[in-house]
């Protein structure tokens, strides 16, 4: 199990290095090599799914001595939520490598950066202490910087700098939080131990817990992103290349929520109890605001970006409600949103490659020329809206049901988010796909070829599978959700 855990980190990295070493004259080999290696990682993740740590709380499996004189070690481990997110990231890397067009797949920098990004993301999900978490959290930025900077759209410079500065600004708070925790832990353990096992036994004063919660959560919330801190997201999504958008929406946003579930709540529960109402209010504002702004968008990519703000608001609402059902729903919604948003960005990428525009008004009647594409788009939109029987419904329903007890009014407002989602998604579908063909460029659009269909198919199947049989995915997160909700309930009782 430990070997597999580290190979999740090293296989993508080595494959990236391998691709950098291949001469440019053999550029048709970049994609097959990347796909082969990401298939290895994907298989390993599937194997982890049947392993002994796939349904547990976080277990530290391996420790490295890093700076001995300070007593800092690096820890790595696995849990149910980590396994699911590892699987999600591997799947998304695999399908985005399959889906990207020729100008991206024949550039070694693009394929290599994507694989390096994969390695860093896997690192985040297996880190077992604050320092390695922070290291991988920041290391994400380098490949993302190149992906957005080199292969981005017109306004990529602004968007990239904004993305980097926002994230770095947030991670400064995480950094200070890590330092503070380390110093506190030094007072108890005599060394700067910040691994998750030591932290759970660290007893903090209420004021310390509050400060630390604020420091960590602020950094993670920028990444989620929650309502007033979300402004980097639409810019980043619009300017990023398709594969970058898929990874950004599919996995990078989850890193923020993952950090809150992994660090902020279990270790600084008192702080969580003090500020959870604020987070709940902000996330409901985010749900409604994101949805309303999405309605008004004329750029389909920006529309999906704002819908991400709305959907991630559901995740944060579920987390802040703090019950078993709502946290479970939040984790499932993280996975679901990764699948649907990834699929939507991929679909937008397909049509952008054909028409080189993302404006909704430039389309119309595309259903006639691209029937298969239109059908898949409609299916994915339904999943995104949360139609019963598809995956979006499972998470959002659990979140709404779970948080209704804690926040009756807020949850009622949040439920409107689902309605609004139907408005923006279906209206966009109607404008783009139905009716007569308005522009003649749209007449001869070729439908999805077999490669493109193959790359979207796994995501579509997963939407259906999770929607019909949510028990399976739920079984991986039960342990963790009950652990989190028990911790929260325990601290509530203490008060």
């Amino acid at each position: 199990m430990i070997t597999i855990m580290f190979s999740l980190l090293l296989v993508p990295l080595f494959s990236a290095i391998l691709i950098f070493l291949i001469p440019n004259s053999r550029k048709e080999t970049f994609r097959p090599i990347g796909i082969a290696f990401s298939l290895i990682t994907l298989t390993q993740c599937v194997y982890l799914l049947f392993g002994e740590y796939a349904k547990t709380e976080f277990t530290i499996l391996s420790t490295f001595k890093w700076i001995q004189s300070y007593g800092i070690n690096l820890h790595f481990g696995l849990s149910g939520m980590s396994t699911l997110l590892l699987l999600l990231s591997s799947l998304l890397v695999f399908v985005s490598l399959l889906s990207i067009g020729k100008d991206h797949s024949e550039s070694k920098g693009f394929v290599g950066s994507l694989l390096m990004l994969h390695s860093a993301i896997n690192g985040v999900f297996i880190s077992g202490d604050l320092i390695s978490l922070f290291i991988f959290f920041e290391a994400l930025l380098i490949p993302m910087y190149f992906l957005m900077g080199i292969w981005g759209g017109e306004n990529r410079r602004y968007a990239t700098i904004k993305f980097i500065l926002y994230t770095v600004f947030g991670s400064v708070f995480i950094f200070i939080g890590t330092v503070y925790t380390a110093v506190l832990s030094f007072g108890v353990n005599g060394r700067l131990a910040v691994d998750f096992e030591t932290l759970s036994s660290l007893s903090l004063l209420e004021s310390q817990s509050k400060t630390l919660f604020l420091l960590f959560t602020f950094g993670f919330l920028i990444k989620v992103p929650i309502f007033p801190l979300h402004t980097w997201l639409p810019d980043a999504h619009v300017e990023a290349p398709t594969a970058g958008s898929i990874m950004l929406a599919g996995v990078l946003l989850k890193v923020g929520a993952y950090g809150i579930l992994r660090v902020s709540i279990p270790f600084f529960t008192e702080g969580f109890l003090a500020y959870k109402n604020l987070i709940a209010i902000l996330s409901v504002i985010g749900i409604i605001y994101g949805a309303i702004v999405a309605i008004a968008q004329i750029d389909i990519k920006k529309l999906i970006a704002y819908s991400s703000v709305s959907h991630m608001g559901f995740v944060m609402l579920g987390i802040s409600a703090g019950g078993f059902l709502s946290i479970e729903g939040a984790i499932i919604q993280m996975i679901n949103h990764g699948i649907t948003a990834g699929a939507l960005f991929m679909l937008v990428g397909f049509i952008y490659e054909r028409r080189h525009t993302r404006k909704i008004s430039d389309f119309g009647g595309v259903k006639i020329s691209m029937p298969r594409y239109a059908a898949i788009f409609l299916f994915t939109s339904f999943a995104s809206i949360g139609l019963p029987g598809l995956n979006g419904f499972v998470g959002e329903f659990m979140i709404l049901m779970g948080s209704f007890n804690s926040y009756k009014i807020l949850t009622s407002f949040a439920a409107f988010g689902v309605v609004l989602a139907a408005i923006y998604m279906l209206w966009a579908y109607e404008r783009m796909f139905t009716g007569p063909i308005k522009y003649e460029e749209n007449e001869n659009l070729s439908d999805l070829n077999s490669r493109e269909t193959a790359s979207i198919a796994p995501l579509v199947l997963l939407m259906l599978f999770i929607g019909i049989y949510p028990n399976y995915i739920e079984s991986f997160v039960i342990q963790e959700a009950s652990f989190l909700s028990d911790t929260i309930a325990m601290f509530k009782d203490l008060k």
Partner: protein, 490 residues
């Protein structure tokens, strides 16, 4: 039976590195004046001289093992952990910058020997400064080192910027030296002491509360003199002009050697002389740190000349290093770690600059590297590693050094400093990533053509970049070394 030389503490091993450098200089002089020798002989002579220096530094470790911390030459030369590590660092700086400064000197045809002599002399001066126990020796070392650097800055006579740099450096540097000497005089006048250890003994004797104001002023003036050399704000005004104007091949050496020597001396001053009264310098050091990082970040953000950008980044880094020096013994060790990793990145960056724009050039606009990645992948990648290291991104040594430093500051409850330093780090990402953007990402018409990089340069850059990443992944060895430096002062 004790001989006179034992009473005086004459020991040639302890000054052997300085002597080795002087010997090399004399041989070089001999080679030029008395017999005319081909140019490669000079190259080998100076390189062997540097290797000899490193060997003698190695001998000093042996001496330290038998003698421990001790002073020689009637308490003028000191042998302690700081001087040992300082010697090693100066030796390493010489070794790592040899390639650049040799090529530059070769280009200045009729002044090749002078340039080499100036460099080796300045190194010997800074070695003396690091070894000095006595303030007078400290001053002599500082002057030998600095005056050579002033001349080095202006060696490219045909270049107006180079002349300007030399003059500015000279005028402001001598002003700083005046301040330094005045400080020594005040300390001597008030307590009749001129030694590093004497100061702490005298202060412990009269009690920290009874230290006269004159002594404080004197000590602060001494520190200001040193802060000038490391370009901490508000004494940073010379740095950008000097970095910009000096021949690019020399700047790496000039910047790093002065920083190494001055920071080692500052660290020893704080750890030894000021142990009992360091609390009263908190405000002073705090102000300098905050000014340095803020001024550095503010000015660095809108520089179009990369050498100036690195100069201002040096101001920021000086602030960081200083913040550790002024907060406890472990802070000093963290600062030393920071210093070593920073020097590695600094030398690397200037090596890259001199490869791109030529050794003798003075100003280095950011447009000089636009589209660099297309034809020169290796240089761009190493430059990016050094820049990310300066920014403090994880997986590079910059992150580890910042982490250790900030942890120390936090445990000393210096929350204001931590806040300011971290905000500067965020700002740093803006201007450290810009060269990478221009070099690798931005699409441009006129890309830099393929530059022939010599194998020696490739090796050097490879080693420096590997060290930057190595200390980011496995910092344990270096942390232990820096911890060992300060163990005696706990």
């Amino acid at each position: 039976m004790t001989t006179v030389s034992e009473i005086l503490g004459i020991n040639y091993i302890v000054i052997a590195p300085t002597l080795a450098l002087l010997l090399t200089v004399i041989v070089l002089l001999f080679c030029t004046i008395t017999i005319s020798t081909p140019i490669y002989v000079k190259k080998y002579v100076s390189f062997i001289g540097i290797l000899l220096t490193l060997f003698t530094i190695f001998l000093k470790f042996g001496l330290f093992l038998t003698d421990g911390v001790s002073s020689y030459f009637t308490e003028k030369i000191l042998l302690d952990e700081f001087s040992l590590i300082g010697n090693v660092l100066v030796g390493m700086v010489l070794l790592f910058t040899f390639n650049s400064f040799w090529k530059t000197s070769e280009l200045i045809e009729d002044k090749t020997t002078e340039a080499l002599i100036l460099i080796l002399m300045s190194a010997s001066g800074f070695l003396l400064m690091i070894d000095a126990e006595n303030f007078i020796m400290l001053f002599i070392g500082l002057e030998i080192g600095s005056i050579s650097l002033y001349a080095l800055a202006g060696l490219n006579r045909g270049d107006q910027l180079s002349n300007e740099a030399a003059l500015k450096y000279f005028l402001l540097g001598s002003l700083a030296s005046c301040i330094f000497v005045y400080g020594i005089a005040l300390v001597y006048a008030s307590l009749s002491i001129i030694g590093v250890y004497e100061t702490s003994i005298a202060i412990s004797f009269i009690g920290p509360d009874n230290v006269p104001l004159t002594t404080f002023v004197g000590l602060i003036l001494i520190i200001v003199g040193l802060l000038f050399k490391v370009a901490a704000a508000p004494f940073q005004a010379w740095a950008p002009d000097v970095y910009q104007g000096s021949p690019t091949g020399y700047v790496g050496y000039m910047a790093s050697v002065a920083k190494v020597a001055s920071f080692i001396v500052l660290a020893r001053l704080v750890a030894v002389s000021l142990t009992f009264i360091i609390d009263q310098f908190d405000l002073f050091f705090g102000a300098v740190v905050i000014l340095s990082v803020l001024a550095g970040a503010l000015f660095a953000a809108n520089q179009s000349d990369l050498k100036r950008l690195i100069a201002y980044s040096g101001v920021i880094q000086s602030g960081f290093i200083l913040s550790g020096i002024s907060s406890g013994v472990y802070g000093i060790s963290a600062s030393m770690f920071y210093l070593i990793t920073y020097i590695i990145q600094l030398i690397g960056i200037f090596t890259v600059f001199s490869i791109i724009s030529g050794q003798l050039s003075s100003d280095f606009q950011i447009s000089n590297i636009s589209g660099l990645f297309k034809e020169n992948k290796f240089i761009t990648i190493t430059l990016s590693i050094f820049m990310l290291g300066l920014a403090g991104l994880p997986l590079t040594s910059g992150f580890v050094s910042k982490f250790i430093l900030i942890t120390n500051l936090w445990s000393y409850e210096r929350y204001v400093l931590v806040t300011v330093l971290m905000l500067t780090t965020v700002a740093g990402f803006y201007f450290y990533l810009r060269p990478i953007w221009v070099a690798a990402i931005e699409k441009t018409e006129n890309v830099v053509e393929k530059i022939q990089v010599k194998n020696s340069d490739k090796l050097l850059l490879g080693v420096l970049a590997t060290l930057t990443i190595y200390f980011g992944l496995l910092p344990d060895t270096l942390v232990n070394i820096t911890r060992w430096m300060v163990e005696g002062y706990l």
